[in-house]
Symmetry: C2
Subunit: 106 residues, 2 copies
DNA sequence: TTGACATGCAGTCAAATACCTGCATATTTA
DNA sequence: TAAATATGCAGGTATTTGACTGCATGTCAA
């Protein structure tokens, strides 16, 4: 998995909104996703391509339609491999900060 | 908290690297953070400003030095309010995908 | 088969981004 | 106080990004 692609894909509110929409109703077509997205179909397509590149969605065709499915695995991986690291260090870091601020007051 | 600022701040590998560095050694000065970052001090400053704007780090001054401390709270909030939603839906969505692909094969 | 529908692809363009240089300010120390 | 050190601030610029238009391709249905 490419961490950077996932983070970049999540950086845009439009793309997060698309993921939200798919979370509500998985397997939507491009056209369906467009109706909620105040922009042209072509722009939405570009965003979806980025999400697909980050493996956050996968697609399949049914006739002339393209169906979009959310893939939560990269999100989970990012959390496990990156976010959690900072979670666990939480208390210690806050303690460090407190100590540092007090030293600063001397 | 501003979700968008957090996501945008995390989108850049340099900034994630800075957070990593602070996770290893919290409370580093700007100069210390720069030594590991193959770029000018001014560029690092800009990245740090973005991280601070997203509340991912907080700073304090000690004399002429500026100390940087990581703040894991926004990361935790983003996880709780955004990522977890997709986590919990995981099995159902994969099931949907399987079903959809099978329907496509008919 | 032809018209309507769903999507794909190429190119344009303005705004945002991420670097940089140059200079200013504040603090420590000899 | 003067020099060295640490950081702040103001632009400049090349690249990336995110939107658009226009046209092409593929599929369904009458």
């Amino acid at each position: 998995m490419d961490d950077n692609k996932v983070f970049k894909a999540l950086a845009d509110p439009t793309r997060r909104s698309l993921l939200d929409s798919l979370c509500d109703a998985n397997g939507q077509t491009l056209g369906q996703l467009c109706t909620a997205m105040d922009m042209t179909r072509q722009s939405v397509t570009q965003h979806l391509a980025l999400l697909e590149g980050a493996n956050l969605i996968s697609t399949t065709r049914r006739g002339r339609e393209k169906l979009h499915f959310i893939n939560p695995v990269p999100l989970h991986d990012v959390y496990e491999r990156w976010v959690r690291k900072f979670e666990t260090a939480r208390l210690g870091l806050l303690h460090d900060l407190k100590e540092q601020l007090e030293r600063n007051d001397e």
